[in-house]
Symmetry: C3
Subunit: 311 residues, 3 copies
């Protein structure tokens, strides 16, 4: 890996100091956007390499680059990446694309793809999700939203709800939260998609308190943050079991009535029924503000990567 490049590869790479600095930078980016963007990276080029479609994440990065005055080239269609079809390795692709741009944003289907890319790249690599692996920029915007909405992350009580086995955002967010004091996490999921032991081990090492349960209603009243996620039908042995499991965890007006008036509801989006639209008007429904925060966090990361500061 080339020295002096600021790659964003996984959530575990961030220290508390780095998070504090990043969130301060993101707050400054909110001002930049309100002022209509700036031209601080005019002439610089971002390549977005999406080997797997993720329109929202891609547009968010491309908007971040545009707001900073830079240009974007890229490919939105992984499956048809022509060289990949011809058998080219990821490493070869990255070696070449490195020469065309100043920063690479990559989404890939394989765990560890971002690290492999960074190992051969001449420019910073920002991991926009690598398979069932990591999605660090999502976790960063999640944590930024908690700090902004709840006023602090130290001491926060958060319930992560849904498919905790395969949902990589809850893993990455857990790693970020491990940098804070007195955090309490409730991992709430159906039995067959519980939080992996590797995540629990990491939290144990970092001294983070957590509890596993299947009962959302029981903890709803005592949390500051409800982090809802999708449950995918294909994880369940039958549609009936899926319906039963998913039905338990729908955020609706009834659930909101159990939650404290200063709590917030987050979701990495897209949602597909697990948060009722009836909740959208509730001031505690923070998920659209959360999506917007993705822009500020990504602007801060792109700015740091292009400024050549090694993290």
């Amino acid at each position: 890996m080339k020295p002096n490049l600021y790659h964003v590869l996984g959530a575990k790479q961030f220290s508390r100091t780095e998070l504090d600095e990043l969130f301060a930078a993101a707050r400054r980016m909110e001002d930049v956007v309100r002022a209509g963007g700036n031209r601080s990276h005019e002439g610089r080029i971002m390549t977005t390499l999406f080997f797997e479609a993720s329109t929202r994440t891609r547009l968010s990065f491309e908007s971040a680059m545009s707001r900073l005055g830079g240009s974007v080239i890229g490919t939105e269609n992984a499956a048809q990446f022509s060289s990949a079809i011809k058998g080219e390795t990821l490493e070869d692709t990255i070696r070449i694309v490195s020469g065309y741009s100043d920063v690479i944003v990559m989404r890939h289907t394989d765990i560890g793809a971002a690290k492999r890319a960074a190992a051969v790249a001449d420019v910073p690599v920002l991991n926009a999700g690598d398979g069932a692996g990591e999605h660090p920029t999502q976790a960063l915007l999640d944590a930024y939203t908690i700090e902004k909405e709840a006023g602090r992350i130290d001491g926060v009580r958060i319930a992560m709800v849904g498919d905790l086995a395969y949902g990589r955002t809850v893993h990455s967010l857990s790693y970020i939260l491990a940098n804070y004091r007195d955090v309490m996490i409730y991992y709430i999921s159906p039995e067959n998609v519980r939080i992996p032991s590797s995540v629990k081990r990491y939290m144990d090492e970092k001294g983070i308190r957590y509890e596993e349960t299947t009962d959302l209603d029981a903890v709803a009243g005592s949390i500051d943050v409800l982090y809802q996620t999708r449950i995918q039908k294909e994880r369940f042995p039958s549609p009936e079991e899926y319906d039963k499991a998913a039905g338990q965890y729908i955020v609706d007006e009834k659930l909101m009535s159990l939650m404290s008036k200063n709590s917030i509801v987050l979701h990495p989006l897209p949602r597909a029924g697990e948060i009722s639209e009836a909740v959208d008007g509730d001031p505690r429904a923070a998920y659209f503000r959360q999506a917007q925060n993705g822009l500020y966090i990504r602007m801060a990361l792109v700015d740091k990567a292009l400024s050549g500061v090694k993290g």
Copy 2:
């Protein structure tokens, strides 16, 4: 719908005054393009969301934004819009993309999609076609072309030819023309794809004269504008009936010989045989100039949307 946003959703929203202003703005945009573009919207971002491919229309909008100094982010591939695949509603998508850009250009397969988008968007929405619904920017560039080529729209005699039942451009153009005085429309189509009664009712209300006929040759000599469109094979019970119907309405040198020397031929393009290439060199063949006018109209619309003027 947020106040003070200039959405372009359907052709009926335009008054005569607005059309006059828009066409004047489009004429100024012709000068801007001749001068190599300007930087009046540098730093602003357009998102093009094409849930259905329409390369020409997308490139036309993206060129318009680029000519005004702005940036474009987007997705050309509707069918693979990743969040839509995961079950996200259009409204959720728009809520989020709103935060990434200053104007949204959307093409969708569903009638009314543009209105639904505008209802939740924080930025202007420009409808680039919504299913069998509307395609207002096409109708605007059609009318602009008539004014430019024929010198006026008041008093114009126009034949709309082809599939008038499913061809949304002829509906939208009819609504635009309803703002002008002494217009005469000939709706010329095979029996099975006649102009819908909803369009005729609207023209009646507005006091616009029209006639329905199947015989193009009979009116060719007395019109100022021939607006040709495609006839789609799948609308007909058999290939033989399609061939018979479509064959009647081909614009070729013989038909051109029936038309007056000051008349013009328009077509929203792409064409697929319904205008002979032998006609391309005829000065009355205005369809490529018409396509070019799409750039100026879209520049005028984008400029108005980004200038925050409510229409």
Copy 3:
């Protein structure tokens, strides 16, 4: 074809003087990139029309335009080019897209497509590959790399290896090399994919020496440049015959040990096994530097096309 437009359509169009000028311009572009790009074509628009995917080539052109301050609009997905699906001719598409941009970069599946586009375009057309036809910008960057790495092209001894029947890059490169003095080409391929007689005829006319052989090892020691290409499985009657043929021509450490210490290895990339990764660290492995040179050559071509100089 409109006069005073600088199209790049095929490798045969270039004279020695033009090549010398182009390579000098490319060297200046290396300085431009080192300085972070310039804004010399701010406000100009490139349209990339890729009717066939070629991510690397497209990104290379888009990066070139961005480095010169221009904007890019385009379509990466040939197969779904909406107007083409509706039966539009290439000529109609080009007539319209001409009006949206200042230069068109086109990749197409059909031989001769670039010439057909240039015949009707109002702006310069740069051929980014037309089917089994030509890929002139690849050949230009190949020749530029030889001049840069070997110090000269006159007098160079080059082996072109692999599928010489269907590999268009070796055809285009042969045409470029025909402009130089004392070049010696070894065409090395399996019997069933030998260099076409049309190419040999052209080299004969130009007085270029060449030899055909199946034996790479025998010439490895006496060449300055080894130009490796892919061999496609589907050209062979059986997988066994493919394996036998392809296996003969793998560039590995053993082959490198036969080559002189000042020689270089090139490859248009992507590779798929025909150059061993063990060779990547060898200073003679010039294929990634070659890919990077594509940026400089394309910047020089785009700059020339936009500067309105007729070649």
